[in-house]
């Protein structure tokens, strides 16, 4: 017993150096991105939905300013996907499979799990936006300045975050393979009702008036502004999106803490 005691006593309590803590956050984000970028079944619907729609409606059926409008609205549509599905589906599956439990038992730094998923969703949203920009510029011949392209990319990168929060909340409501179905029930009607498929002006008046209750409506205002079609003030839309993000993160955190 003497020898064993001396072993434990000779191990000082090692504090984790700050560099290693930051390293752990980076590793988590890197693994999360690698893991899902390698899963075609996971990425394909997120990438194909918006690009195929845009090819059909923005390149084949419409030209000129309509293509510009649709580039922005399908960008909004495409950006929402990685947020809802990247976050919601993976959280629901990992809660079910025990991975989240294991991560909570391991000394993973707090928040690294959620931050990793956020980074993954931001990367996926950026990929979607780049694909749509390529289609828009080279196939639909939408003329964009460098600044406009950058604005659209940044909108995609950060605009995905409120939808991560919504996806996270849905991911805490349901476990396992049921999540994609439930998320589609949120995703598709919300996209339609906030004018991402058809311009709002083509929808019934009552639905037009309801549109601002959807976070996707406000994201669309931002993407339209990025391509130069929305000249109005944007602060309100940004604040609404931040409010949605904070609200859903709060709800999801509460459910995760209570139900795991």
């Amino acid at each position: 017993m003497e020898a064993m005691r001396s072993v434990t006593q000779s191990i000082p309590v090692i504090e984790m150096p700050r560099r290693r803590i930051i390293g752990a956050y980076l590793e988590e984000a890197r693994s999360e991105c690698l893991r899902y970028l390698r899963a075609p079944a996971f990425m394909r619907p997120m990438l194909l939905f918006s690009t195929v729609f845009y090819l059909m409606f923005g390149v084949v059926l419409n030209h000129g300013e309509a293509s510009r409008y649709l580039l922005a609205s399908y960008s909004a549509f495409g950006i929402i996907g990685p947020g809802l599905f990247g976050f919601g589906v993976s959280l629901a599956i990992e809660r079910d499979g025990g991975l989240l439990t294991l991560k909570r038992a391991l000394p993973m730094p707090p928040g690294a799990y959620l931050l990793g998923k956020m980074v993954m969703a931001m990367v996926a949203a950026t990929i979607v936006t780049v694909l749509l920009l390529l289609i828009g510029v080279f196939l639909a011949h939408v003329v964009l300045s460098g600044g406009q392209m950058l604005a659209l990319l940044l909108t995609g990168m950060f605009g995905v975050l409120p939808f991560c929060a919504l996806g996270m909340f849905v991911g805490t409501l349901i476990k396992g393979q049921g999540a994609p179905g439930l998320l589609n029930l949120v995703y598709l009607p919300m996209a339609f009702l906030s004018g991402l498929w058809l311009p709002l002006s083509m929808l019934p008046h009552a639905l037009q008036r309801l549109a601002p209750i959807w976070p996707s409506y406000h994201l669309n205002q931002l993407t339209q502004a990025a391509v130069g079609l929305n000249k109005g003030p944007l602060l309100g839309d940004v604040l609404v999106l931040i409010g949605f993000a904070v609200g859903f993160i709060w709800l999801a955190e509460r459910r995760l803490r209570r139900h795991g």
Partner: protein
């Protein structure tokens, strides 16, 4: 050893219930460095609840739970543990090396990737995606992840399920090596020979209580039963009728008799069957001890109350 030096994990008078069902009821448990404690018990006995409490996944309703003298939820405490859970679906598209690198990044002074891989016997799998591995290989990878942080306390929840015999024995050898280096191990298992091969101490749980705690030898000694085996022409029913005999069964050739006092039965066997051959008398093993202990606990609790699901 009266201080808390070397105490890796401790439960003191811990109670935990789910919706009115007591999962743990006044449980005391202590695990020191360089020691392996095997937690035995049938499903629903409270083993998983005890582990979840020690991992900080659950909070106790009553009592104290400590990891290295701290609350288990604290990350400083968890940086000193390694964990292998019973069910954990790891990211299928990540390679084994990537999983090891990620898990090691959580710890202040982890083992090198090569060392972890060698200890767990997964060196040849580092480039393989996790999903392409067999069940036994996946368990080995999970074992590698558990030890990669150079933990002082290892939680192994049913570690060898799905492993073949060679792999299992190799894992046992690694666990023994870690214990010699001063690591504490909390093992739950359904394989009693695993507890017998590895454990310093055995803790048997039933219905949320610890019904036995002690060394493996004490555990066996608690059960007075002996096993007699022999080749005999005596019919099964004759032997069954003898008063000292508590159980008899027959395989292809041999008669297996379980008794409390072996001597009287052996004498009678030899008298009634002069042709009797290959007589063996053994103290009952861990398996019989376990069955008897948990049955006793079940009977006691059944008479007190109806079984709770």
């Amino acid at each position: 050893m009266n201080s808390s030096i070397g105490v890796a994990a401790r439960l003191v008078a811990v109670g935990k219930s789910y919706g009115g069902v007591m999962a743990l009821d006044g449980v005391d448990l202590q695990l020191r460095s360089g020691q392996l404690l095997a937690l035995l018990g049938s499903n629903g006995a409270g083993k998983s609840t005890a582990i979840s409490l020690l991992l900080g996944l659950l909070r106790p309703d009553a009592g104290t739970v400590e990891l290295f003298g701290q609350a288990p939820g604290r990350i400083q405490a968890r940086r000193r543990i390694g964990v292998m859970l019973q069910h954990a679906e790891l990211p299928p598209t990540l390679q084994v090396g990537e999983l090891l690198r990620l898990t090691a990044s959580y710890y202040p002074a982890p083992r090198s990737l090569i060392e972890s891989a060698e200890l767990a016997g997964v060196s040849d799998l580092l480039k393989r995606p996790y999903a392409r591995l067999s069940g036994g290989q996946q368990r080995r990878v999970q074992f590698a992840l558990a030890l990669c942080g150079r933990p002082e306390l290892l939680f192994l929840d049913e570690p060898t399920v799905g492993m073949d015999i060679q792999t299992r024995q190799r894992l046992w050898a690694t666990i023994r090596q870690l214990i010699v280096e001063g690591c504490a191990v909390l093992l739950t298992t359904h394989y009693l020979e695993e507890a017998e091969a590895l454990a310093d101490r055995v803790c048997v749980m039933a219905r949320g209580r610890v019904i036995h705690e002690g060394s493996v030898d004490e555990f066996r000694a608690r059960v007075a039963l002996k096993r007699i085996r022999c080749l005999t022409t005596l019919p099964l029913d004759t032997v069954r009728g003898w008063p000292e005999v508590s159980e008899v069964r027959q395989d292809k050739v041999r008669l297996h008799i379980t008794v409390v006092e072996a001597e009287a039965v052996v004498r009678r066997l030899l008298e009634t069957d002069p042709q009797l051959r290959e007589l063996e008398v053994q103290r009952a093993g861990v398996a019989e001890a376990f069955t008897e202990l948990t049955q006793d606990a079940d009977e006691a609790s059944n008479s007190a109350q109806r079984e709770a699901a």
